[in-house]
């Protein structure tokens, strides 16, 4: 197997050589990549919606269900002890993955959406009131808009929106101008799912903290594609999903600073989140259990732990560098096509390429590409305000993962040409 040497920017700016990821071996780990769709090899370019699962993660899930399953934190029998140990080991893997200070700062949720809703209920409903202001950005996913809108409606609070430029970059001066004495919260995506913009979250968090405002970062599109260090970012909350990170659906993570989590109200009531219950009074459990009512998705949490092991085996730095090569190549190829406009041209982008073909609705693009086995997302990407900002009803979006190749991008480009020929 050929291993290419190539130069990439190192983290400290100097150039260094890395071994190109052994892409053939990596692809062999993903059984689904062998599928044929419409009689053609699958070209899976919908990773921002959900990524695929490698065999080691599948195997780990099978092993858990066939040899280790029982309910956790309850019985004293062997399987319950084992399942509890593996579930808590997954929590520690997540802690190290995010570089959190303590494992009790890691709460398992159903996904990013539930993590954000947890903060809205647990923090927002307790600490945000009438006339208070919540700052969001113009490129948020609906999951980081709607919960805050619900809170604003309930409390009489106000949403303020950070605008963006035509490239899809947030306007930092306008962001800073939004702060005043009523500002109580900032909810911001790390990476835009619709445009790929990487926001300068560290500086924005520092600015918010200067004004005493806590910050939630929606990391659904960042955590799978770059190293994340929540202590370095100094965010108060960070949320991501397992299924965009080569793990299972039904599992996500909320990181929260311990001192904030401790003063928050529980999100849901039930078993496991209590220390004692009488009909007069309930004493809540300590964090993180206070926020994990009921039997959690044990299998999915353990699967997420295995997915983190898998990504660490490749290295998030390497994944980020390789995906940048893919994005640069795709951007160059697609922007060379006449009649195709790339939507989202921020200077700092993750491997997301949204585009429109002049005179062709994105859904027709998606159906025709599917004929060649190419899976992309078409639609509003749960970011309708972004579509309104760019005055398009929808876009076509190719989003890459570390198991994609330049050859697959060539197939995408051929597919776009075919669409154009049909619609001339």
């Amino acid at each position: 197997m050929k291993i290419e040497r190539m130069a990439v920017e190192g983290m400290n700016g100097e150039r260094k050589d890395i071994d190109r990821m052994n892409i053939e071996r990596i692809r062999a780990d993903f059984p689904i990549l062998n599928l044929q769709v419409s009689g053609k090899p699958l070209v899976y370019l919908d990773n921002a919606a959900s990524s695929q699962m490698p065999q080691p993660v599948i195997d780990r899930i099978v092993r858990y269900q066939s040899q280790e399953h029982a309910n956790i934190h309850r019985a004293v029998h062997h399987l319950s002890e084992l399942a509890t140990k593996e579930f808590e080991a997954a929590r520690i893997k997540v802690q190290h993955f995010l570089k959190a200070k303590e494992s009790r700062e890691i709460i398992f949720t159903r996904g990013t959406t539930e993590a954000i809703n947890l903060v809205m209920h647990g923090y927002g409903r307790a600490f945000i009131g009438k006339g208070d202001e919540i700052i969001l950005s113009a490129l948020e996913h609906h999951s980081n808009i709607v919960p805050w809108q619900m809170l604003a409606q309930e409390k009489g609070a106000v949403l303020r929106v950070i605008p963006m430029n035509d490239a899809g970059e947030l306007l930092i001066e306008e962001f800073e101008a939004l702060f005043n004495s009523k500002t109580k919260f900032l909810a911001l995506s790390h990476v835009s799912n619709a445009l790929g913009t990487v926001n300068p979250v560290k500086a924005m968090i520092a600015f918010a903290h200067h004004h005493g405002v806590p910050v939630l970062i929606d990391g659904a599109q960042a955590a799978p594609h770059q190293p994340v260090d929540v202590q370095d970012l100094d965010c108060d909350f960070y949320a991501f999903s397992g299924h965009k990170l080569c793990g299972p659906t039904g599992i996500g993570v909320l990181y929260g600073k311990a001192q904030l989590l401790e003063k928050m109200q529980p999100y849901q009531g039930g078993g496991d989140m209590i220390l004692s219950v009488t009909f007069e009074k309930t004493t809540y459990n300590v964090i993180p259990y206070k926020f994990e009512a009921g039997t959690p998705p044990i299998m999915a949490a353990i699967g997420l732990g295995a997915a983190i092991d898998y990504l660490n085996g490749i290295g998030l730095d390497e994944i980020q560098a390789y995906e940048k090569i893919l994005l640069d190549y795709a951007t160059e190829q697609v922007s060379a096509l006449i009649g195709v406009r790339i939507i989202g041209t921020a200077r700092k982008k993750a491997a997301v390429l949204s585009f429109e073909i002049k005179g062709v609705h994105p859904h027709d693009v998606g159906t025709i590409l599917n004929e060649d086995g190419i899976a992309i997302r078409t639609g509003h990407h749960c970011a309708q305000p972004v579509m309104q900002r760019f005055k398009v009803p929808a876009t076509a979006r190719a989003s890459f993962a570390f198991y994609n190749t330049k050859e697959e991008i060539d197939k995408l480009v051929d597919g776009i040409r075919k669409v154009q020929r049909m619609f001339i």
Binding site: S38, V360, H361, P362, H363, D364, T367, I368, N370, E371, T378, G379, H380, M387, P393, A394, M422, F423
Partner: protein, 163 residues
């Protein structure tokens, strides 16, 4: 022929490029709007119905090729038809698109509209093809419900989504 090829044949691409009866009718007595929030397809229909007959019909809006071609061909098919016959076509088109009408064995009046038969194998696109027909039904139904209540002006019907 694959489902996709069968669907994107020349007649559909032609109606997408040059939609017939495109625009709105001044002083129309029936209106309805249809909207697929998922894909952003949006159709506005205006008609003049006199003595139970669709005298004129036009549509405008934005949508994918399947939706636009379906609207364009629909206006051609129902213009001059009675309301009852148009409703039969609505039911038959829905049946074809959702796969409940077997074109081989069951009698129907779809004629040229059979070019949309392939959509039944593309579940995510069924709603694109059906949207104009839902909108037509809403426009016709709004009038009949209004007439039973004795009001002068029809109430515009709005459709959100599809089953």
């Amino acid at each position: 022929m694959s489902d996709m090829r069968q669907l994107y044949q020349e007649v559909i691409l032609d109606h997408n490029r040059k939609p017939r009866n495109f625009g709105s009718i001044l002083g129309a007595n029936r209106h309805a709007e249809g909207h697929n929030p998922l894909c952003g397809d949006h159709i506005k229909l205006s008609m003049n119905v006199l003595d139970d007959k669709i005298e004129t019909i036009a549509f405008e809006g934005e949508g994918c090729a399947i939706c636009k071609a379906s609207a364009s061909m629909m206006t051609g098919a129902v213009k001059g038809q009675s309301v009852q016959d148009a409703e039969i076509l609505v039911a038959e088109f829905r049946g074809m698109a959702t796969g409940t009408l077997d074109l081989e064995s069951e009698a129907n009046h779809l004629g040229k509209l059979k070019v949309f038969a392939g959509v039944k194998d593309l579940p995510s696109r069924v709603k694109c093809a059906i949207l104009p027909w839902h909108t037509l039904h809403a426009a016709l139904y709004a009038e009949s419900s209004v007439s039973t209540e004795g009001e002068a002006d029809p109430v515009p019907g709005t459709l959100i989504g599809e089953e």
